[in-house]
């Protein structure tokens, strides 16, 4: 079994996802359901019709962005798991501009999008500054920021952005601040193109500019980077800001780019866990912006297909997230596929 070297990351990623699916199948079986029926429903639900496929892409949109947050962190040698909180504030920022600040069409949509991105980036600055100047461990600080962001966002949503008479959600985005729906039969909007575009811009920045090169060098070989005169604080702040912009856009996309609510739920229910889901997406996408786009489609399919799996077979869609965790766990073992390959070669 020989695979060309260039294809190896792809085959390894797919093999890890397959491993996650097998482990998930065991869980489904352990709780008394048929894994075959469950996975068939999942596949049909994700790709069965044109409508399903578009819905899969709608689920993929925020995931490719939160994956970007984690990926840019890893490229800079950091574990930025703060996409979750940065995304909440992005959603709040976008809701504020989209729902409460009337503006002419065109300008309004751009302003709401940028407000979301800016809010995400500002929130990311807290762990960035603590890391760069205090050396605070970014895993702990980003998680703490996530929890603070949760309570802050709920406070802002309920006290300043609530729709009168409807306690469960914020004011909806004004029609001038909504991304056009691409097809009436799904919730996919043009925000998908913005997400893909942003990922490509980040790719061009990291691989095409001096600052991007320095960021990747600092991640791969901190000593060499320091010797070359790269300032570590700059790299930390830069990677957190890019990650915050991406996570903020992800949060905004769920408010101004996702019918039918066009608003943020007071419990943040329509954005929670999208940030953590991005970790698995980033790892399967090999921490590459383009890989992240492809992996996001795969995880979007799991999310969309999971709904039919729950409806038809009775396997709860929460299992999809457990599966995501198993995939992350397996991706952590670099030796896994080396070991497998050695066994097979023998």
């Amino acid at each position: 079994m020989r695979t060309p070297r260039a294809l190896r990351p792809l085959t390894e990623s797919l093999a890890t996802v397959a491993l996650g699916l097998v482990a998930g199948g065991l869980l489904i079986w352990a709780f008394g359901h048929s894994p075959v029926a469950a996975y068939r429903a999942l596949a049909v639900g994700a790709f069965g019709t044109r409508e399903d496929l578009l819905e899969t892409l709608a689920f993929a949109t925020p995931l490719m962005l939160t994956a970007l947050t984690f990926a840019v962190g890893v490229r800079a040698g950091l574990f930025n798991i703060g996409a979750e909180g940065q995304m909440y504030l992005g959603a709040v920022g976008a809701t504020f501009v989209a729902g409460m600040v009337p503006m002419p069409a065109g300008v309004h949509l751009a302003a709401a999008t940028l407000a979301g991105m800016a809010a995400g980036a500002l929130w990311a600055l807290i762990p960035a500054v603590l890391k760069a100047w205090r050396g605070a461990h970014e895993v702990i600080s980003t998680i703490m920021c996530n929890w603070i962001a949760l309570h802050l966002s709920m406070y802002l949503a309920i006290n300043f952005l609530a729709e009168p008479g409807r306690a469960e959600r914020t004011v909806p985005a004004l029609p001038t601040a909504r991304y056009p729906v691409l097809s009436e039969e799904s919730t996919l909007t043009a925000v998908l193109f913005v997400a893909v575009g942003f990922a490509l811009v980040v790719y061009a920045y990291l691989w095409g500019t001096r600052a991007g090169y320095e960021l990747r060098l600092a991640g791969e070989n901190p000593d060499a980077a320091r010797y070359a005169g790269v300032r570590p604080e700059r790299v930390v702040v830069l990677s957190f800001v890019i990650g915050g912009l991406a996570a903020g856009l992800a949060g905004a996309s769920q408010v101004i780019g996702r019918p039918p609510a066009w608003s943020l739920y007071a419990t943040l229910g329509n954005v929670t866990t999208l940030g953590f889901d991005g970790i698995g997406v980033a790892l399967v996408g090999r921490n590459h912006p383009v890989g992240g786009i492809l992996a996001a489609v795969l995880f979007g399919a799991l999310a969309q297909g999971g709904r039919l799996m729950e409806y038809e077979v009775g396997v709860l869609s929460e299992l999809v997230r457990a599966l995501n965790g198993i995939i992350v766990f397996a991706m952590a073992v670099p030796e896994l596929w080396t070991l497998v390959r050695r066994r097979l070669a023998r």
């Binding site: 920021c145 995501n324 198993i326």
Partner: protein
């Protein structure tokens, strides 16, 4: 200049109860809640101190809290006793710790990513488990008889698990600094090559600390519903696994200091709960800001102390023979 700080601390300790009284917050109930909140943090942090001394990092403490809490309630209901639940939760925590340890030692995994994988897994698996076991989403209230009974003392109602946590912190300290095994654990974190050359098994020592660390976190997770809340919710640990990690960092891997840090964070948690329920106070402070207190404190502490702590030279890095 150090004595100035100690003097200030002593003054604060004397003044705090009076100030709290005047604000309408009863100090005794605050201490009670503080000790309850301290317990899971202390257990997980003490275990993680041992684990990190041996050169491993378990960032999945949050996941162990969540899964153990859920499974512990199931064990308690099946065994009709809160203690059966504590035992079950401890066992599940030990298994998860062992699994993460095995992946780190034999798979040479990136320990941060593996731990986060466990956390993401728990985020989906726990709600899944809640509905699968009790057919109700998000929350499960169990009979009150299953709660681990608390002991009445002059300073309020104290859980036996709290006393166990304090005892375990002392034991862990003695183990690390007074026994041969403790010396080996410290050595395997600093110089695994030397331990290997001396004919000892690096892998087994690390698996041991990973399992013990997982077991203690599992006990802490089981304590959340069975010793404290009296109910199970899907996000029961609410970041406490990471606050425990902050305690470990704050303590510089010393179990007794970790216990102190856990008490500090526990009191902050107790303070937040007291503010949230005391009439006359709760109306003036929005709940959302009160709920932020433990996290904001953790953020502040992490920013204040880290960078000045020294960790074992191989912490987080897998060991391979040359």
């Amino acid at each position: 200049m150090r004595w100035v700080w100690w003097l200030l601390l002593a003054a604060a300790l004397v003044a705090a109860p009076r100030l709290l009284e005047r604000a309408g917050l009863p100090p005794v109930s605050l201490l009670e809640t503080g000790l309850l909140a301290m317990t899971p943090l202390a257990l997980a942090a003490v275990g993680e101190c041992l684990n990190e001394k041996a050169g491993l990092v378990n960032i999945g403490l949050e996941a162990i809290f969540m899964v153990s809490a859920t499974v512990a309630v199931w064990f308690a209901e099946v065994g009709r006793s809160g203690y059966a639940g504590l035992l079950g939760g401890t066992a599940v925590g030990a298994l998860l710790g062992l699994g993460l340890g095995a992946v780190s030692v034999y798979g040479r995994a990136d320990q941060i990513i593996a731990g986060m994988g466990l956390n993401v897994f728990a985020l989906g698996f726990v709600p899944f488990l809640l509905i699968s076991l009790w057919a109700f989403p998000g929350i499960h209230v169990f009979p009150n008889e299953l709660m681990v009974p608390r002991i009445s003392t002059p300073v309020g109602q104290i859980s036996p698990v709290t006393l166990a946590a304090v005892a375990l912190a002392v034991l862990a300290h003695l183990l690390l600094h007074r026994t041969v095994l403790g010396f080996r654990i410290r050595a395997v974190g600093e110089k695994p090559e030397a331990v290997d050359v001396a004919g000892l098994r690096v892998d087994r020592l690390r698996l041991l600390t990973a399992t013990v660390g997982g077991a203690l976190a599992g006990l802490g997770g089981a304590f959340l519903p069975l010793g404290w809340f009296g109910a199970l919710v899907k996000e029961i640990s609410a970041g406490r696994g990471f606050i425990a990690l902050a305690c470990v960092v704050f303590a510089g891997l010393e179990p007794l200091l970790a216990l102190g840090a856990a008490l500090l964070f526990g009191l902050a948690d107790g303070f937040a709960s007291a503010v949230a329920v005391t009439p006359g106070v709760k109306e003036r402070v929005p709940f959302y800001f009160v709920a932020m207190i433990p996290y904001a404190l953790t953020l502040g502490v992490v920013a204040a102390v880290i960078g000045r702590r020294r960790f074992p030279s191989t912490v987080g890095r897998p060991y391979a023979r040359e």
